[in-house]
Amino acid sequence: MTDFVHSTPGGDSAREDLQRPSALRQWMSYMRRDKKALFGLIVLGVLIFSAVFAHWLSPYDPNAMDFSMMLKPSLQHPLGTDDLGRDLLSRLLHGTQISLFVGISTVILGMSAGVTLGVVAGYFGKWVDTIIMRYVDLQWAFPNFIIAVYLVAVFGTGLANVIIAISLAYIDDFARVARGMVLTIKQEQYIAAAHTLGASDNRVMWRHILPNAMAPIIVQATVSVSYAILAEAGLSFLGLGVGSDTPTWGLILADSRSFISRAWWLGVFPGLFIMITVLSINFLGDALRDMLDVREVTDAH
């Protein structure tokens, strides 16, 4: 079989022994180099841990009221108490559950819908593109938060409705990013090669185009997680959030505004939680984008 092969390709001996490290190793070596990503990973890990174990970690019941109202941070109440005497740390820890869940689930939903629309629009073009993109333009004309407020006002408050509202509001961002990438990628020769092989439209879209379009979508997703957490906080602030009996970061922040001159800790700590979470997700998103780029991972060595 091989007797008519005259030679192995020349000049490549340097690359012959290339050994790609395992995915975990790549991840670890990347984290060692990128301190910001490491910070993001640790913070997010701590947050997820505290969200999962909030019930056991919290020193008090988050909704237990007490006469010790608006106490300064102390050893009994590390972050102080609010106007009803509830322990702020316990409320923030329980709020982590809602905030992280809302942030991540809205982005997953919004990204799935938006990316699907964008890829279909960009791939098929013509009237499919026109219809989808005119809708996206329409949504683009309104700020995401206004759309979320409107949708919650229509559907009513509650965790599920807040998640649906925020994720619908993000569809246009993802659709736009995805479509732009598809328009570039579908001109590539490997797409022509896939068509030549008889690959179906679905195969070309999801196996060939989408994996190559992921980098900017990932960036968009991490930015959106941050905005979704802020949007949930905003909705809670306006009284359109998950519900007044559930502690969320946004609600705690909203409640603090009447007492900001007397109890600074009520505003500062929820704000800090939101800020650190958003920051660490952004750091992690940057790292994720770099790592998903197969070219950069191996070339960086």
Partner: protein
């Protein structure tokens, strides 16, 4: 439109004709307007091209950039729909196929693309790329069987089996092109369209890939449509050669004949532009230097498209579009001044046409 009987040699009508391109035209609209888009013109990328490919032969398609070579390849691969004309494969019109027939056609005609850097999906390992034809066409095949086939194909193309675990960016250009060839071979294609398949490679790698292509042709009884602009490569590889200029085939003949005794003034100019690696004969041989630029295919010249640059241009050339006629047995040319040209350029003993050097083919 041109009469087909005249431009098709009779022997091609026989059963050994694998693909027949009849009067193929591809015009792309040029859109204009700031607010409302409308068509302001047409790029006549391919404008009335006819040729046929016999079973087991290598047909070369040469010409400058932008002359429509790649567009023809894209039409043959059913990546674009022609404006008019037909492409018959094994007697069946490509645009009369139903889905099942088209799917079958995809198995029988494969392609090797120009750019080994962009013709492989950067996110797919080589093994997945080469195995993909099986996943598409033989969904019942198990992964282990596919991996076996992938190893076999890589071996045929001179790549070690461990390359299956590589990503394209971890390979050299020549290795990537071998992967592209392995992918094209996967489904036992009968015909392979090589669109500038070696143009992007270093000369030494070019020779290896060309040798591989020729070995595979013998081994698997392949038919090639080889598109290129490197005349020495085309001469080495092709049985017959068609020369294109601005969307038209201007000359078509057996490789030997075309390179030794070209008839069309464009072919003559093209061949004289090939450098000869001998300073003495390079300095002494006549050069035909074309003046002017290649005209825009949006607004091609009337009559013969070559007339603005043609040293033989006469009044008739500006009015009449020459047909691709069989001037000598098996030798087609589209020029109304063939006799005069033939007398001047192909008289025995007068070697005004440079010999194209063979490329090194050390095995």
């Amino acid at each position: 439109m041109t009469a087909l009987t005249e431009i098709m040699p009779r022997s091609d009508a026989a059963s050994d004709c694998l693909m027949e391109v009849r009067d193929l035209a591809l015009h792309f609209p040029v859109q204009g307007g700031t607010l409302f888009k409308h068509t302001v013109g047409q790029v006549k990328a391919v404008d009335g091209v006819s040729f046929s490919i016999r079973k087991g032969e290598v047909l070369g398609l040469v010409g400058e950039s932008g002359c429509g070579k790649t567009t023809i390849a894209r039409a043959i691969l059913k990546l674009v729909r022609p404006t008019s004309g037909q492409i018959l494969f094994d007697g069946m019109d490509l645009w009369q196929q139903d889905r099942a027939q088209q799917f079958a056609y995809r198995r029988r005609v494969q392609a090797v693309f120009q750019d080994p850097f962009s013709s492989l999906n950067p996110r797919m390992k080589v093994g997945s790329t080469v195995g993909e034809p099986f996943r598409i066409h033989m969904p019942s095949m198990k992964s282990a069987e596919i991996n076996g086939e992938v190893r076999r194909l890589l071996d045929i193309c001179g790549l070690p089996a461990r390359m299956a675990e590589r990503y394209p960016h971890e390979m050299s250009g020549g290795q990537r092109q071998r992967v592209g060839i392995a992918r094209a071979l996967a489904l036992n294609a009968e015909m392979i369209v090589c669109d500038e398949a070696v143009s992007a490679l270093d000369v030494s790698i070019q020779a290896q890939v060309i040798n591989l292509l020729m070995d595979l042709k013998d081994e698997f009884n392949l038919t090639y449509l080889f598109i290129g602009h490197d005349l020495s490569v085309v001469k080495h590889l092709c049985d017959r050669v068609a020369v294109m200029y601005l969307g038209n085939v201007v000359e078509m003949a057996d490789s030997e004949t075309l390179f030794d005794e070209p008839l069309h003034p464009y072919t003559i100019a093209l061949l004289s532009a090939v450098p000869v690696p001998d300073p003495v004969s390079e300095a002494s041989r006549p050069h035909v230097i074309l003046t002017g630029e290649i005209p825009s295919p949006v607004n091609p010249p009337n009559g013969c498209v070559f007339h603005p640059r043609c040293p033989r241009m006469s009044d008739a050339c500006t009015r009449m579009r020459p047909l691709l006629l069989e001037e000598l047995p098996g030798h087609h040319a589209a020029c109304i001044h063939i006799e005069r040209l033939a007398a001047q350029f192909t008289r025995p003993g007068q070697h005004s046409i440079p010999k194209i050097p063979d490329i090194p083919t050390s095995n």
